[in-house]
Protein backbone atom coordinates (compact mmCIF):
# COMPACT_ATOMS: atom_id res chain seq x y z
CA UNK A 1 0.00 0.00 0.00
CA UNK A 2 2.50 2.57 1.15
CA UNK A 3 5.81 3.15 -0.58
CA UNK A 4 7.86 2.10 2.45
CA UNK A 5 6.16 -1.30 2.63
CA UNK A 6 8.48 -3.07 0.20
CA UNK A 7 10.48 -4.78 2.94
CA UNK A 8 8.22 -5.37 5.97
CA UNK A 9 10.85 -7.30 7.96
CA UNK A 10 12.91 -4.10 8.30
CA UNK A 11 9.99 -2.12 9.69
CA UNK A 12 8.93 -1.78 13.30
CA UNK A 13 6.09 -0.51 15.46
CA UNK A 14 3.40 1.63 13.91
CA UNK A 15 4.90 1.72 10.43
CA UNK A 16 4.90 -2.09 10.38
CA UNK A 17 1.31 -2.08 11.61
CA UNK A 18 0.23 0.42 8.97
CA UNK A 19 1.68 -1.85 6.29
CA UNK A 20 0.24 -4.98 7.91
CA UNK A 21 -3.27 -3.55 8.10
CA UNK A 22 -3.29 -2.51 4.45
CA UNK A 23 -2.35 -5.82 2.83
CA UNK A 24 -4.59 -7.29 0.15
CA UNK A 25 -5.95 -9.90 2.54
CA UNK A 26 -7.00 -7.23 4.99
CA UNK A 27 -8.89 -5.52 2.20
CA UNK A 28 -10.94 -8.74 2.01
CA UNK A 29 -11.56 -8.46 5.74
CA UNK A 30 -12.78 -4.87 5.43
CA UNK A 31 -14.98 -5.72 2.45
CA UNK A 32 -16.59 -8.51 4.47
CA UNK A 33 -17.96 -5.87 6.85
CA UNK A 34 -19.77 -4.61 3.76
CA UNK A 35 -21.07 -8.15 3.18
CA UNK A 36 -22.62 -8.12 6.64
CA UNK A 37 -24.23 -4.74 6.09
CA UNK A 38 -25.48 -5.84 2.68
CA UNK A 39 -27.01 -8.95 4.22
CA UNK A 40 -28.79 -6.80 6.82
CA UNK A 41 -30.01 -4.37 4.18
CA UNK A 42 -31.50 -7.15 2.04
CA UNK A 43 -32.70 -9.44 4.81
CA UNK A 44 -34.57 -6.91 6.93
CA UNK A 45 -37.20 -5.98 4.29
CA UNK A 46 -37.42 -9.56 3.01
CA UNK A 47 -37.99 -10.90 6.51
CA UNK A 48 -40.60 -8.21 7.08
CA UNK A 49 -42.40 -9.33 3.91
CA UNK A 50 -42.26 -12.99 5.07
CA UNK A 51 -43.51 -11.88 8.47
CA UNK A 52 -46.38 -9.94 6.97
CA UNK A 53 -47.38 -12.92 4.86
CA UNK A 54 -47.13 -15.22 7.90
CA UNK A 55 -49.19 -12.95 10.13
CA UNK A 56 -51.83 -12.50 7.44
CA UNK A 57 -51.96 -16.26 6.91
CA UNK A 58 -52.41 -16.86 10.65
CA UNK A 59 -55.45 -14.54 10.60
CA UNK A 60 -56.97 -16.23 7.58
CA UNK A 61 -60.42 -17.79 7.64
CA UNK A 62 -59.37 -20.73 5.48
CA UNK A 63 -58.15 -23.29 7.98
CA UNK A 64 -55.18 -24.84 6.09
CA UNK A 65 -53.74 -21.35 5.53
CA UNK A 66 -54.40 -20.40 9.13
CA UNK A 67 -52.84 -23.65 10.36
CA UNK A 68 -49.78 -23.07 8.19
CA UNK A 69 -49.35 -19.51 9.46
CA UNK A 70 -49.71 -20.51 13.09
CA UNK A 71 -47.22 -23.36 12.74
CA UNK A 72 -44.75 -21.05 11.02
CA UNK A 73 -45.00 -18.61 13.92
CA UNK A 74 -44.88 -21.25 16.63
CA UNK A 75 -42.04 -23.42 15.39
CA UNK A 76 -39.19 -20.96 15.97
CA UNK A 77 -39.99 -20.74 19.65
CA UNK A 78 -39.34 -24.41 20.21
CA UNK A 79 -36.18 -25.00 18.19
CA UNK A 80 -32.79 -23.20 18.24
CA UNK A 81 -32.45 -20.80 15.30
CA UNK A 82 -29.00 -22.13 14.48
CA UNK A 83 -30.56 -25.53 13.74
CA UNK A 84 -32.85 -23.82 11.24
CA UNK A 85 -29.91 -22.11 9.59
CA UNK A 86 -28.02 -25.34 9.14
CA UNK A 87 -31.16 -27.11 7.95
CA UNK A 88 -32.46 -24.58 5.45
CA UNK A 89 -29.16 -24.01 3.70
CA UNK A 90 -29.03 -27.64 2.55
CA UNK A 91 -32.78 -28.13 2.30
CA UNK A 92 -33.35 -25.07 0.11
CA UNK A 93 -30.45 -25.99 -2.16
CA UNK A 94 -31.79 -29.50 -2.61
CA UNK A 95 -35.30 -28.21 -3.13
CA UNK A 96 -34.19 -25.90 -5.96
CA UNK A 97 -32.11 -28.60 -7.61
CA UNK A 98 -34.93 -31.10 -7.30
CA UNK A 99 -37.41 -28.69 -8.89
CA UNK A 100 -35.02 -27.91 -11.77
CA UNK A 101 -34.35 -31.61 -12.16
CA UNK A 102 -38.06 -32.34 -12.57
CA UNK A 103 -38.38 -29.67 -15.25
CA UNK A 104 -35.12 -30.05 -17.17
CA UNK A 105 -34.66 -33.82 -17.12
CA UNK A 106 -38.12 -35.42 -17.18
CA UNK A 107 -36.81 -38.69 -18.67
CA UNK A 108 -34.26 -39.37 -15.93
CA UNK A 109 -35.08 -42.73 -14.42
CA UNK A 110 -32.56 -43.18 -11.59
CA UNK A 111 -33.59 -42.25 -8.03
CA UNK A 112 -32.37 -38.89 -6.76
CA UNK A 113 -31.23 -40.19 -3.39
CA UNK A 114 -28.71 -42.97 -3.95
CA UNK A 115 -27.44 -44.06 -0.58
CA UNK A 116 -25.63 -41.07 0.83
CA UNK A 117 -25.68 -39.07 -2.40
CA UNK A 118 -28.07 -36.55 -3.80
CA UNK A 119 -27.91 -36.98 -7.56
CA UNK A 120 -29.54 -34.72 -10.12
CA UNK A 121 -28.75 -34.42 -13.80
CA UNK A 122 -25.95 -32.06 -14.90
CA UNK A 123 -28.31 -29.46 -16.33
CA UNK A 124 -30.16 -29.14 -13.01
CA UNK A 125 -27.07 -28.43 -10.91
CA UNK A 126 -27.12 -25.12 -9.09
CA UNK A 127 -25.03 -23.22 -9.86
CA UNK A 128 -23.95 -24.91 -13.08
CA UNK A 129 -20.63 -26.68 -12.88
CA UNK A 130 -18.91 -24.40 -15.40
CA UNK A 131 -20.22 -21.19 -13.80
CA UNK A 132 -17.57 -18.69 -12.70
CA UNK A 133 -16.57 -18.28 -9.06
CA UNK A 134 -18.67 -15.18 -8.44
CA UNK A 135 -21.86 -17.02 -9.40
CA UNK A 136 -21.10 -19.65 -6.77
CA UNK A 137 -20.50 -16.98 -4.17
CA UNK A 138 -23.63 -15.05 -5.08
CA UNK A 139 -25.71 -18.23 -4.98
CA UNK A 140 -24.34 -19.00 -1.51
CA UNK A 141 -25.14 -15.49 -0.37
CA UNK A 142 -28.63 -15.74 -1.87
CA UNK A 143 -29.29 -18.97 0.03
CA UNK A 144 -28.07 -17.31 3.23
CA UNK A 145 -30.39 -14.33 2.72
CA UNK A 146 -33.34 -16.62 2.06
CA UNK A 147 -32.56 -18.68 5.17
CA UNK A 148 -32.29 -15.57 7.33
CA UNK A 149 -35.53 -14.23 5.87
CA UNK A 150 -37.41 -17.46 6.60
CA UNK A 151 -36.21 -17.68 10.21
CA UNK A 152 -36.57 -14.00 11.03
CA UNK A 153 -39.79 -13.80 9.04
CA UNK A 154 -41.26 -16.14 11.62
CA UNK A 155 -40.22 -13.78 14.42
CA UNK A 156 -41.57 -10.81 12.49
CA UNK A 157 -44.82 -12.70 11.87
CA UNK A 158 -45.17 -13.17 15.62
CA UNK A 159 -44.67 -9.45 16.23
CA UNK A 160 -47.04 -8.37 13.45
CA UNK A 161 -49.68 -10.90 14.50
CA UNK A 162 -49.62 -9.40 17.99
CA UNK A 163 -49.70 -5.87 16.58
CA UNK A 164 -52.74 -6.66 14.41
CA UNK A 165 -54.57 -7.87 17.48
CA UNK A 166 -53.54 -4.76 19.42
CA UNK A 167 -55.36 -2.41 17.07
CA UNK A 168 -58.53 -1.39 18.99
CA UNK A 169 -61.45 -3.52 17.92
CA UNK A 170 -63.74 -0.52 17.75
CA UNK A 171 -61.78 0.76 14.77
CA UNK A 172 -62.51 -2.39 12.78
CA UNK A 173 -66.16 -2.41 13.84
CA UNK A 174 -66.54 1.18 12.75
CA UNK A 175 -65.04 0.31 9.37
CA UNK A 176 -67.57 -2.50 9.01
CA UNK A 177 -70.38 -0.17 10.02
CA UNK A 178 -69.33 2.12 7.20
CA UNK A 179 -69.83 -0.78 4.83
CA UNK A 180 -66.20 -1.64 4.14
CA UNK A 181 -65.47 -5.18 2.99
CA UNK A 182 -63.08 -7.42 4.92
CA UNK A 183 -60.32 -6.68 2.45
CA UNK A 184 -60.87 -2.95 2.63
CA UNK A 185 -60.91 -2.99 6.44
CA UNK A 186 -57.64 -4.90 6.43
CA UNK A 187 -55.76 -2.65 4.02
CA UNK A 188 -57.22 0.74 4.93
CA UNK A 189 -57.77 0.46 8.68
CA UNK A 190 -55.77 -2.38 10.20
CA UNK A 191 -52.46 -2.21 8.32
CA UNK A 192 -51.85 1.55 8.63
CA UNK A 193 -52.54 1.48 12.36
CA UNK A 194 -50.65 -1.64 13.38
CA UNK A 195 -47.15 -0.23 12.86
CA UNK A 196 -47.17 1.83 16.07
CA UNK A 197 -47.86 -1.33 18.05
CA UNK A 198 -45.37 -3.37 16.06
CA UNK A 199 -42.45 -0.97 16.35
CA UNK A 200 -41.10 -1.99 19.77
CA UNK A 201 -41.12 -5.63 18.69
CA UNK A 202 -39.64 -4.89 15.29
CA UNK A 203 -36.84 -2.74 16.69
CA UNK A 204 -36.04 -5.54 19.10
CA UNK A 205 -36.00 -7.89 16.14
CA UNK A 206 -33.55 -5.61 14.33
CA UNK A 207 -31.17 -5.90 17.31
CA UNK A 208 -31.53 -9.66 17.25
CA UNK A 209 -30.92 -9.70 13.50
CA UNK A 210 -27.71 -7.70 13.90
CA UNK A 211 -26.49 -10.16 16.48
CA UNK A 212 -27.37 -13.12 14.27
CA UNK A 213 -25.18 -11.97 11.36
CA UNK A 214 -22.01 -13.81 12.52
CA UNK A 215 -23.94 -17.03 11.85
CA UNK A 216 -23.33 -16.26 8.16
CA UNK A 217 -20.02 -17.96 8.77
CA UNK A 218 -21.81 -21.25 9.42
CA UNK A 219 -23.65 -20.89 6.12
CA UNK A 220 -20.38 -20.90 4.22
CA UNK A 221 -20.20 -17.20 3.34
CA UNK A 222 -16.79 -15.55 3.69
CA UNK A 223 -17.87 -13.05 6.32
CA UNK A 224 -16.04 -11.23 9.11
CA UNK A 225 -15.79 -14.30 11.33
CA UNK A 226 -14.19 -16.25 8.49
CA UNK A 227 -11.63 -13.52 7.88
CA UNK A 228 -10.92 -12.99 11.58
CA UNK A 229 -10.06 -16.67 11.96
CA UNK A 230 -8.10 -16.65 8.72
CA UNK A 231 -6.04 -13.54 9.40
CA UNK A 232 -5.61 -14.02 13.14
CA UNK A 233 -4.08 -17.50 13.01
CA UNK A 234 -0.35 -17.93 13.55
CA UNK A 235 1.62 -16.90 10.45
CA UNK A 236 5.12 -18.22 9.86
CA UNK A 237 7.72 -16.16 8.03
CA UNK A 238 7.96 -18.90 5.42
CA UNK A 239 4.48 -18.15 4.08
CA UNK A 240 4.02 -14.45 4.64
CA UNK A 241 6.01 -11.25 4.86
CA UNK A 242 4.19 -10.37 8.06
CA UNK A 243 4.81 -13.23 10.52
CA UNK A 244 2.96 -13.05 13.83
CA UNK A 245 1.69 -15.29 16.61
CA UNK A 246 -1.89 -16.30 17.35
CA UNK A 247 -3.77 -13.00 17.17
CA UNK A 248 -7.27 -14.42 16.75
CA UNK A 249 -8.23 -13.12 20.18
CA UNK A 250 -7.48 -9.55 19.07
CA UNK A 251 -9.37 -9.94 15.83
CA UNK A 252 -12.41 -11.17 17.69
CA UNK A 253 -12.03 -8.29 20.12
CA UNK A 254 -12.33 -5.97 17.12
CA UNK A 255 -15.51 -7.80 16.03
CA UNK A 256 -16.89 -7.57 19.57
CA UNK A 257 -16.33 -3.82 19.61
CA UNK A 258 -17.80 -3.50 16.10
CA UNK A 259 -21.03 -5.21 17.17
CA UNK A 260 -21.19 -3.24 20.42
CA UNK A 261 -20.93 0.05 18.52
CA UNK A 262 -23.42 -1.13 15.89
CA UNK A 263 -26.07 -2.11 18.43
CA UNK A 264 -25.46 1.05 20.45
CA UNK A 265 -25.90 3.28 17.40
CA UNK A 266 -29.04 1.35 16.39
CA UNK A 267 -30.41 1.77 19.89
CA UNK A 268 -29.94 5.52 19.82
CA UNK A 269 -31.49 5.73 16.36
CA UNK A 270 -34.52 3.66 17.37
CA UNK A 271 -35.02 5.78 20.47
CA UNK A 272 -35.18 8.89 18.28
CA UNK A 273 -37.63 7.17 15.95
CA UNK A 274 -39.84 6.10 18.85
CA UNK A 275 -39.94 9.65 20.19
CA UNK A 276 -41.03 10.86 16.76
CA UNK A 277 -43.68 8.18 16.30
CA UNK A 278 -45.22 8.44 19.76
CA UNK A 279 -45.60 12.20 19.31
CA UNK A 280 -49.27 13.01 19.45
CA UNK A 281 -50.37 9.40 20.03
CA UNK A 282 -53.05 8.62 22.59
CA UNK A 283 -50.71 6.38 24.59
CA UNK A 284 -48.79 6.76 27.85
CA UNK A 285 -45.66 7.66 25.90
CA UNK A 286 -47.45 10.35 23.95
CA UNK A 287 -49.08 11.68 27.12
CA UNK A 288 -45.71 11.96 28.87
CA UNK A 289 -44.34 13.91 25.91
CA UNK A 290 -47.30 16.25 25.95
CA UNK A 291 -46.90 16.92 29.67
CA UNK A 292 -43.18 17.51 29.32
CA UNK A 293 -43.78 20.05 26.55
CA UNK A 294 -46.28 22.06 28.60
Amino acid sequence: MFSYCTDPSALEGLTWLSCYLTTGKHAGFYISFGTVLLLLAITAPTALAFGFAGATAARSRIWPVKWFGKTYIAIVRGVPDIAFFLFFVIALDQMFEWARHQIKCPDWDEPIRQGNDFVVCQAAKLPLGEAPQWVHETYGFFLAVLTFAIVFGAFAANVLFGAMRAVPHGQLETAEAYGMSRRQTFWRILVPQMWVYALPGLSNLWMVLIKATPLLFLLGVEDIVYWARELGGTKLSRFTEYPHGDWRMWYFLVLLVFYLCFTKVSELFIERLMVKLTHGQATTGGETQRKAAV
Binding site: P80, A83, L86, V208, V225, R229, R248, M249, Y259, K264
Partner: protein, 268 residues
Protein backbone atom coordinates in the same frame (compact mmCIF):
# COMPACT_ATOMS: atom_id res chain seq x y z
CA UNK B 1 -27.31 -54.66 14.72
CA UNK B 2 -30.40 -54.34 16.83
CA UNK B 3 -31.64 -51.04 18.10
CA UNK B 4 -31.06 -52.08 21.71
CA UNK B 5 -27.42 -52.77 20.88
CA UNK B 6 -27.14 -49.31 19.29
CA UNK B 7 -28.55 -47.68 22.39
CA UNK B 8 -26.05 -49.53 24.57
CA UNK B 9 -23.21 -48.43 22.30
CA UNK B 10 -24.12 -44.82 21.76
CA UNK B 11 -26.44 -43.62 24.54
CA UNK B 12 -23.53 -42.10 26.44
CA UNK B 13 -21.20 -41.59 23.48
CA UNK B 14 -21.19 -37.82 24.03
CA UNK B 15 -19.57 -38.41 27.44
CA UNK B 16 -17.00 -40.81 26.02
CA UNK B 17 -18.61 -44.11 27.06
CA UNK B 18 -19.53 -46.96 24.73
CA UNK B 19 -18.37 -47.47 21.17
CA UNK B 20 -15.46 -45.28 20.15
CA UNK B 21 -16.15 -44.96 16.45
CA UNK B 22 -19.19 -43.14 15.21
CA UNK B 23 -21.22 -45.02 12.60
CA UNK B 24 -19.65 -44.49 9.18
CA UNK B 25 -22.37 -45.47 6.70
CA UNK B 26 -25.78 -47.13 6.44
CA UNK B 27 -27.12 -44.90 9.15
CA UNK B 28 -30.27 -46.26 10.72
CA UNK B 29 -32.95 -44.11 12.24
CA UNK B 30 -32.18 -45.69 15.59
CA UNK B 31 -28.53 -44.61 15.42
CA UNK B 32 -29.48 -41.05 14.61
CA UNK B 33 -32.07 -40.79 17.38
CA UNK B 34 -29.71 -42.35 19.94
CA UNK B 35 -26.66 -40.25 19.11
CA UNK B 36 -28.52 -36.94 18.85
CA UNK B 37 -30.24 -37.77 22.12
CA UNK B 38 -26.84 -38.54 23.61
CA UNK B 39 -25.68 -35.10 22.53
CA UNK B 40 -28.63 -33.54 24.35
CA UNK B 41 -26.85 -34.43 27.60
CA UNK B 42 -24.42 -31.61 26.88
CA UNK B 43 -27.17 -29.12 26.02
CA UNK B 44 -28.93 -29.92 29.28
CA UNK B 45 -25.64 -29.74 31.19
CA UNK B 46 -24.70 -26.30 29.81
CA UNK B 47 -28.19 -24.89 30.14
CA UNK B 48 -28.81 -26.21 33.65
CA UNK B 49 -25.58 -25.07 35.26
CA UNK B 50 -25.48 -21.71 33.45
CA UNK B 51 -29.06 -21.06 34.52
CA UNK B 52 -28.48 -21.93 38.19
CA UNK B 53 -25.20 -20.02 38.54
CA UNK B 54 -26.39 -17.15 36.36
CA UNK B 55 -29.43 -16.67 38.57
CA UNK B 56 -27.32 -15.52 41.52
CA UNK B 57 -25.09 -13.20 39.50
CA UNK B 58 -28.21 -11.80 37.81
CA UNK B 59 -29.69 -10.85 41.18
CA UNK B 60 -26.44 -9.09 42.02
CA UNK B 61 -26.40 -7.32 38.63
CA UNK B 62 -30.00 -6.16 39.05
CA UNK B 63 -29.23 -4.77 42.50
CA UNK B 64 -26.05 -3.21 41.12
CA UNK B 65 -28.00 -1.45 38.37
CA UNK B 66 -30.42 -0.12 40.98
CA UNK B 67 -27.60 0.87 43.33
CA UNK B 68 -27.10 4.47 44.47
CA UNK B 69 -23.32 4.09 44.42
CA UNK B 70 -22.15 5.38 41.06
CA UNK B 71 -19.27 3.00 40.38
CA UNK B 72 -21.35 -0.08 41.26
CA UNK B 73 -24.12 1.08 38.95
CA UNK B 74 -21.71 1.88 36.11
CA UNK B 75 -20.02 -1.51 36.50
CA UNK B 76 -23.35 -3.34 36.29
CA UNK B 77 -24.47 -1.24 33.33
CA UNK B 78 -21.28 -1.92 31.40
CA UNK B 79 -21.49 -5.62 32.15
CA UNK B 80 -25.04 -5.78 30.79
CA UNK B 81 -24.15 -3.68 27.74
CA UNK B 82 -21.13 -5.83 26.92
CA UNK B 83 -22.98 -9.14 27.01
CA UNK B 84 -26.32 -8.00 25.62
CA UNK B 85 -24.87 -5.76 22.94
CA UNK B 86 -22.63 -8.31 21.25
CA UNK B 87 -23.46 -11.65 19.63
CA UNK B 88 -23.04 -14.73 21.79
CA UNK B 89 -21.30 -16.38 18.86
CA UNK B 90 -18.53 -13.74 18.92
CA UNK B 91 -18.33 -13.97 22.72
CA UNK B 92 -17.67 -17.70 22.42
CA UNK B 93 -14.94 -17.14 19.84
CA UNK B 94 -13.32 -14.35 21.82
CA UNK B 95 -13.39 -16.34 25.05
CA UNK B 96 -11.97 -19.45 23.40
CA UNK B 97 -9.06 -17.66 21.78
CA UNK B 98 -8.57 -15.61 24.94
CA UNK B 99 -8.30 -18.76 27.04
CA UNK B 100 -5.98 -20.22 24.43
CA UNK B 101 -3.68 -17.22 24.83
CA UNK B 102 -3.82 -17.50 28.62
CA UNK B 103 -3.02 -21.20 28.40
CA UNK B 104 0.45 -20.41 27.11
CA UNK B 105 0.98 -18.17 30.14
CA UNK B 106 0.01 -20.68 32.79
CA UNK B 107 -1.15 -24.34 32.71
CA UNK B 108 -3.88 -23.42 35.22
CA UNK B 109 -5.93 -22.31 32.22
CA UNK B 110 -5.82 -25.72 30.52
CA UNK B 111 -9.39 -26.77 31.45
CA UNK B 112 -10.73 -23.39 30.33
CA UNK B 113 -10.05 -24.17 26.67
CA UNK B 114 -12.32 -27.21 26.95
CA UNK B 115 -15.99 -26.64 26.27
CA UNK B 116 -17.26 -28.05 29.57
CA UNK B 117 -15.71 -25.17 31.52
CA UNK B 118 -14.88 -22.40 29.03
CA UNK B 119 -18.23 -22.38 27.24
CA UNK B 120 -20.05 -22.76 30.55
CA UNK B 121 -18.39 -19.59 31.84
CA UNK B 122 -19.41 -17.63 28.74
CA UNK B 123 -22.99 -18.89 28.98
CA UNK B 124 -23.03 -18.11 32.71
CA UNK B 125 -21.95 -14.50 32.16
CA UNK B 126 -24.23 -14.11 29.16
CA UNK B 127 -27.37 -15.36 30.87
CA UNK B 128 -26.50 -13.34 33.98
CA UNK B 129 -26.50 -10.16 31.88
CA UNK B 130 -29.81 -10.93 30.15
CA UNK B 131 -31.48 -12.10 33.36
CA UNK B 132 -30.02 -9.16 35.28
CA UNK B 133 -31.76 -6.80 32.88
CA UNK B 134 -35.06 -8.69 33.34
CA UNK B 135 -34.70 -8.64 37.13
CA UNK B 136 -33.83 -4.95 37.08
CA UNK B 137 -37.00 -4.21 35.15
CA UNK B 138 -39.01 -6.24 37.65
CA UNK B 139 -37.27 -4.50 40.55
CA UNK B 140 -38.40 -1.15 39.22
CA UNK B 141 -42.02 -2.25 38.83
CA UNK B 142 -42.49 -3.58 42.37
CA UNK B 143 -45.66 -1.87 43.66
CA UNK B 144 -44.80 1.08 45.86
CA UNK B 145 -47.38 -0.02 48.43
CA UNK B 146 -45.61 -3.35 49.03
CA UNK B 147 -42.39 -1.63 50.05
CA UNK B 148 -44.22 0.97 52.13
CA UNK B 149 -46.15 -1.75 53.93
CA UNK B 150 -42.87 -3.53 54.66
CA UNK B 151 -41.46 -0.31 56.07
CA UNK B 152 -44.56 0.15 58.22
CA UNK B 153 -44.13 -3.35 59.64
CA UNK B 154 -40.59 -2.43 60.66
CA UNK B 155 -38.77 -4.40 57.97
CA UNK B 156 -35.49 -2.95 56.82
CA UNK B 157 -32.23 -3.94 55.17
CA UNK B 158 -31.66 -7.62 54.49
CA UNK B 159 -34.93 -8.99 55.94
CA UNK B 160 -36.93 -6.53 53.86
CA UNK B 161 -35.08 -7.56 50.73
CA UNK B 162 -35.28 -11.28 51.39
CA UNK B 163 -38.88 -11.46 52.54
CA UNK B 164 -40.58 -8.74 50.47
CA UNK B 165 -38.60 -7.31 47.57
CA UNK B 166 -36.86 -10.40 46.26
CA UNK B 167 -39.94 -12.69 46.06
CA UNK B 168 -41.99 -9.95 44.40
CA UNK B 169 -39.19 -9.25 41.95
CA UNK B 170 -39.01 -12.92 41.01
CA UNK B 171 -42.75 -13.20 40.58
CA UNK B 172 -42.90 -10.17 38.31
CA UNK B 173 -39.88 -11.29 36.30
CA UNK B 174 -40.98 -14.90 35.98
CA UNK B 175 -42.71 -14.90 32.56
CA UNK B 176 -39.74 -13.13 30.95
CA UNK B 177 -37.32 -15.33 32.86
CA UNK B 178 -39.04 -18.44 31.51
CA UNK B 179 -38.38 -17.13 28.03
CA UNK B 180 -34.77 -16.41 28.86
CA UNK B 181 -34.35 -19.98 30.12
CA UNK B 182 -35.79 -21.39 26.89
CA UNK B 183 -33.47 -19.31 24.75
CA UNK B 184 -30.50 -20.12 26.96
CA UNK B 185 -31.03 -23.81 26.25
CA UNK B 186 -31.29 -22.99 22.56
CA UNK B 187 -28.07 -21.00 22.75
CA UNK B 188 -26.21 -24.04 24.08
CA UNK B 189 -26.41 -25.44 20.55
CA UNK B 190 -23.85 -22.83 19.46
CA UNK B 191 -21.05 -24.12 21.71
CA UNK B 192 -19.41 -26.63 19.40
CA UNK B 193 -19.71 -24.40 16.33
CA UNK B 194 -17.71 -21.57 17.81
CA UNK B 195 -14.12 -22.57 18.31
CA UNK B 196 -14.54 -24.89 21.25
CA UNK B 197 -13.44 -28.27 19.89
CA UNK B 198 -15.55 -31.39 20.30
CA UNK B 199 -12.76 -33.54 21.68
CA UNK B 200 -12.94 -37.18 20.43
CA UNK B 201 -16.19 -36.27 18.70
CA UNK B 202 -17.97 -35.79 22.01
CA UNK B 203 -20.37 -33.08 20.95
CA UNK B 204 -23.83 -31.79 21.64
CA UNK B 205 -27.05 -32.65 19.84
CA UNK B 206 -26.50 -30.18 17.00
CA UNK B 207 -22.95 -31.45 16.51
CA UNK B 208 -24.25 -34.98 15.87
CA UNK B 209 -27.21 -33.78 13.80
CA UNK B 210 -24.77 -31.82 11.66
CA UNK B 211 -22.51 -34.89 11.44
CA UNK B 212 -25.35 -37.00 10.05
CA UNK B 213 -26.52 -34.26 7.68
CA UNK B 214 -22.98 -33.90 6.31
CA UNK B 215 -22.49 -37.63 5.88
CA UNK B 216 -25.87 -38.51 4.38
CA UNK B 217 -26.38 -35.16 2.62
CA UNK B 218 -29.97 -35.46 3.75
CA UNK B 219 -31.03 -32.79 6.25
CA UNK B 220 -34.61 -34.00 6.41
CA UNK B 221 -33.97 -36.72 9.01
CA UNK B 222 -31.42 -35.51 11.61
CA UNK B 223 -32.68 -31.93 11.97
CA UNK B 224 -36.32 -32.86 12.61
CA UNK B 225 -35.06 -35.34 15.23
CA UNK B 226 -33.09 -32.52 16.84
CA UNK B 227 -36.12 -30.24 16.64
CA UNK B 228 -38.20 -32.91 18.35
CA UNK B 229 -35.74 -33.16 21.22
CA UNK B 230 -35.61 -29.40 21.66
CA UNK B 231 -39.38 -29.01 21.58
CA UNK B 232 -39.54 -31.71 24.26
CA UNK B 233 -36.93 -29.85 26.31
CA UNK B 234 -38.82 -26.57 25.88
CA UNK B 235 -42.02 -28.20 27.12
CA UNK B 236 -40.18 -29.57 30.18
CA UNK B 237 -38.75 -26.10 30.96
CA UNK B 238 -42.14 -24.45 30.56
CA UNK B 239 -43.63 -27.10 32.85
CA UNK B 240 -41.02 -26.70 35.59
CA UNK B 241 -41.13 -22.91 35.44
CA UNK B 242 -44.91 -23.05 35.59
CA UNK B 243 -44.71 -25.07 38.82
CA UNK B 244 -42.28 -22.56 40.34
CA UNK B 245 -44.54 -19.74 39.22
CA UNK B 246 -47.42 -21.39 41.05
CA UNK B 247 -45.29 -21.51 44.17
CA UNK B 248 -44.24 -17.86 43.82
CA UNK B 249 -47.79 -16.60 43.41
CA UNK B 250 -49.52 -18.94 45.88
CA UNK B 251 -50.69 -15.98 47.99
CA UNK B 252 -52.54 -14.33 45.11
CA UNK B 253 -56.23 -14.84 44.28
CA UNK B 254 -56.82 -17.78 41.95
CA UNK B 255 -57.32 -15.89 38.70
CA UNK B 256 -54.20 -13.72 39.15
CA UNK B 257 -51.93 -16.75 39.42
CA UNK B 258 -51.88 -17.71 35.76
CA UNK B 259 -48.64 -16.79 34.06
CA UNK B 260 -49.10 -14.26 31.30
CA UNK B 261 -47.69 -15.36 28.01
CA UNK B 262 -44.24 -13.81 27.91
CA UNK B 263 -43.00 -11.75 25.03
CA UNK B 264 -40.63 -13.88 23.07
CA UNK B 265 -38.08 -11.45 21.71
CA UNK B 266 -35.18 -12.18 23.95
CA UNK B 267 -32.85 -14.32 21.90
CA UNK B 268 -29.22 -13.48 21.62
Amino acid sequence: MSCWQTIQDYAFRSLGHGARLLPKDDFTLCEQITLIGSGMIWNVYFGFFALISGFFLATAVALGKASKTTWVRKLAEWFVLLFRGSPLFIQFFFAYFGFLALKSVSPIFNPFTAAWLGALIVLFLNTAAYTGEIFYGALRSIPKGDVEAADAYGFSGMPRFRRIIWPTMLRLAWPAYTNEAIFLFHATALVFFSGFPAWQQRGDALYYANYFADKTFNPFIPYPILAGYFILLTLVIVGIFGLINRHLSRHLPQDARRMKRPRMMLIR
